[in-house]
Symmetry: C2
Subunit: 408 residues, 2 copies
């Protein structure tokens, strides 16, 4: 009897009807003869409602108490799903992260999983139960409740799949799978049947909000097949798996757009060793994540440095950067909020040349000016003017023939 871990996100359990629908799917899988562990997120808006309550009480809630508060969201949904499954005549039992024994470090609101005890889950499975586990939460060795931060429920699911040696991990969401581009931007975007861990990792970090990187990394490390599927239909979804020969035949798997970054430029930075290091150390010390970095030498003794940060970090970054710029004797600091980052990803790039020139060609043909370029083994990113972002995505998507066949 094979074990499958399923995970249902908040939109899949947003209300009583949807919870019943999830229960039906779980029961179907159970009746096919699988053992099932089901990880659930909080109901739809529960987490937002809880955060609003906390914000009503204090502007700066302690992270420990936030975890205490937010972990109730998943506890509610697991209890309700267990009831809904029992209503269909199938044995089910819900467990908190605490009860499972999902041990984490002590960093509240962003804890990392250290270890997962399997005793209680295995015992419940042996007794014939569907085991419903609260996602997103764990506990410390001091019996404190922790939460895992963004994408925490996916992480719970993949980590459980690992420790339980599950055959697969199925992530149910409100989209049909992973697409060659965001269908809202590129109407003929095509659903991918398979994608490699490496590609999805690049896509996730590039702004295609499918799954958080942390859970993919665990899947990759332990070679756990992850299926991303819709909880609202029975389409097969997308399988995230290790790289295969066949994948390499495909040049590009997807095009991603990220409109959440802003560009910062420091003009006239003294061109001597250690200056860039100094600037980016100050940013790192202030917990500001920097994405792309480029440096253009303009004068003999001075250079310009540009980099991108998340828009939400921009005002904080600016304060820090201005201080850093003064410290190294730079001329001035400029910011540009109106940028978009367009990226293509594909393991095929490793063994094919000419991808970059095809991208630049497509953008030139679409009359889109490129402001910054950054490349890795399986990725090319271009920063363009914000107003050209969507056009750039469509141009590249078309140039690499990623769309659905016309004959449908």
């Amino acid at each position: 009897m094979s074990l499958i871990v399923q995970k249902y996100g908040g939109s899949s359990v947003a209300n009583v009807e949807r919870i019943k629908n999830v229960a039906k799917r779980v029961v179907e899988a159970k009746r096919k003869g699988h053992q099932l562990v089901v990880v659930v997120s909080a109901l739809g808006d529960t987490t937002d409602e809880l955060i609003a309550l906390a914000e009503g009480v204090t502007k700066a809630p302690s992270e420990r108490e936030m975890d205490m508060l937010l972990s109730t969201g998943e506890q509610i949904s697991v209890a309700l799903l267990a009831m809904a499954i029992q209503e269909l005549g199938v044995k089910a039992v819900s467990l908190t992260g605490y009860q499972v024994g999902i041990m984490t470090d002590r960093f509240h609101t962003r804890a990392r999983i250290i270890d997962i005890s399997t005793d209680r889950v295995k015992r419940a499975l042996r007794e014939g139960n569907v085991v419903i586990v609260a996602g997103f939460q764990g506990k410390t060795t001091a019996d404190e409740i922790t939460t895992l931060g963004r994408g925490g429920s996916d992480l719970t699911a993949v980590a459980l799949a690992k420790v339980l040696r599950a055959k697969a991990c199925e992530i149910y969401t409100d989209v049909d799978g992973i697409f060659t581009a965001d269908p809202r931007i590129v109407p003929d975007a095509r659903k991918l049947d398979t994608i490699s861990y490496e590609e999805i990792l690049e896509l996730a970090s590039l702004g295609a909000q499918v799954m958080q990187s942390r859970s993919i990394e665990v899947g990759k490390k332990f070679d756990i097949p992850i299926y991303v599927r819709s909880s609202f239909n029975t389409k097969p979804g997308t399988l995230i798996t290790k790289e295969t020969k066949k994948m390499e035949e495909v040049l590009v798997s997807g095009v991603a757009l990220n409109e959440n970054e802003a560009k910062v430029t420091i003009f006239g930075v003294p061109d001597r060793p250690g200056v860039a290091a100094k600037i980016f150390k100050i940013l790192a010390d202030n917990n500001i994540n920097v994405d792309m970095i480029i440096q253009n030498k303009t004068e003999t003794a001075r250079t310009d440095i540009s980099f991108t940060v998340m828009k939400k970090d921009l005002s904080r970054a600016l304060t820090v950067v201005q201080r850093a710029a003064r410290a190294v004797g730079s001329k001035e600091v400029d910011i540009d909020r109106h940028i978009a980052k367009v990226s293509i990803v594909g393991v095929g790039m490793r063994s094919h040349s000419g991808v970059a020139s095809a991208v630049f060609g497509a953008l030139a043909k679409a009359k889109v000016n490129i402001e910054m370029i950054s490349t890795s083994e399986i990725k090319i990113s271009c920063v363009v003017d914000e107003k050209n972002g969507r056009k750039a995505v469509r141009a590249i998507h078309k140039a690499f023939k990623l769309g659905r066949k016309k004959a449908r």
Copy 2:
């Protein structure tokens, strides 16, 4: 430094403003130099909302999953209260029943406390924290989450006061204390400064819904002073304590009205030993609580038996009673939903005679007919027609001069 356990009910923490108000009160007590353990119920309507969700999913939710679900209510309120206290610059930490180590038996939705670990609470107190404990919940030795049933949060508070050897247990609610009668029925009802455990136990079981009997019993057993006070003002409230000489000087402490019972009469029961036992055993076996019982002999060989049950149990009781009546060869069964039970309570009755006749006299003067009478050492109960219930309360309250002095 003396330790005080405070308990705030759902109406005291119904919204963000009220939570902040409770935080202020807690901080005031803390600044007076007390160590504080604060037990909190779920926010206002949370429990009802959770029950509605469960009922949306299934008509018959498993009790284990109900506990999983409902225990989140208190977890939310303790986290929010801890945040609100921290916002006022005072150290606070919230703990679930699970984290405290409130060990219970395995009877979900109505668990009994077996033991409470004090290590974690004491450690948190030593570290200077106000310790906020989720009421109403505990865990079994198998790490299952349980809830304590009605009045569970009061029970948590009194039991914690016991194991922590607290100086007092303060129950904050939405009324000013315990009154000689329900002020909605008797406008000049007077708040009592003190009342004995015995009296409040009788009042609780007689329908004056102040506190559940279970927590009073614990208070009585371990001689823990319990203050019932309003969380909305600073009036002193009522102290529940052991009987004193002074209390015995007062004939009657309070008059209670219970409109939740119905009367069942079995006519023509064969008058031989063991018949009544048989009938009430069948009721007990079916988990139907019987309150007052009277038996009137009408013929030589037969008798009539009347008793009262909760209205909510009436239809179930009727089915059972009709079966029982047939089994013993009775004539017929009659029910009366339209009754009210009026009771007076006072430890002074023990040493004073003439209380019963004063009650009957007051009712006669008010032209209220008495249908059933039941007495104990410190209580007299009369069943009257439902439409006379309130009038009867007022008549007795006046006869015993329980109201406020006119000169105010």
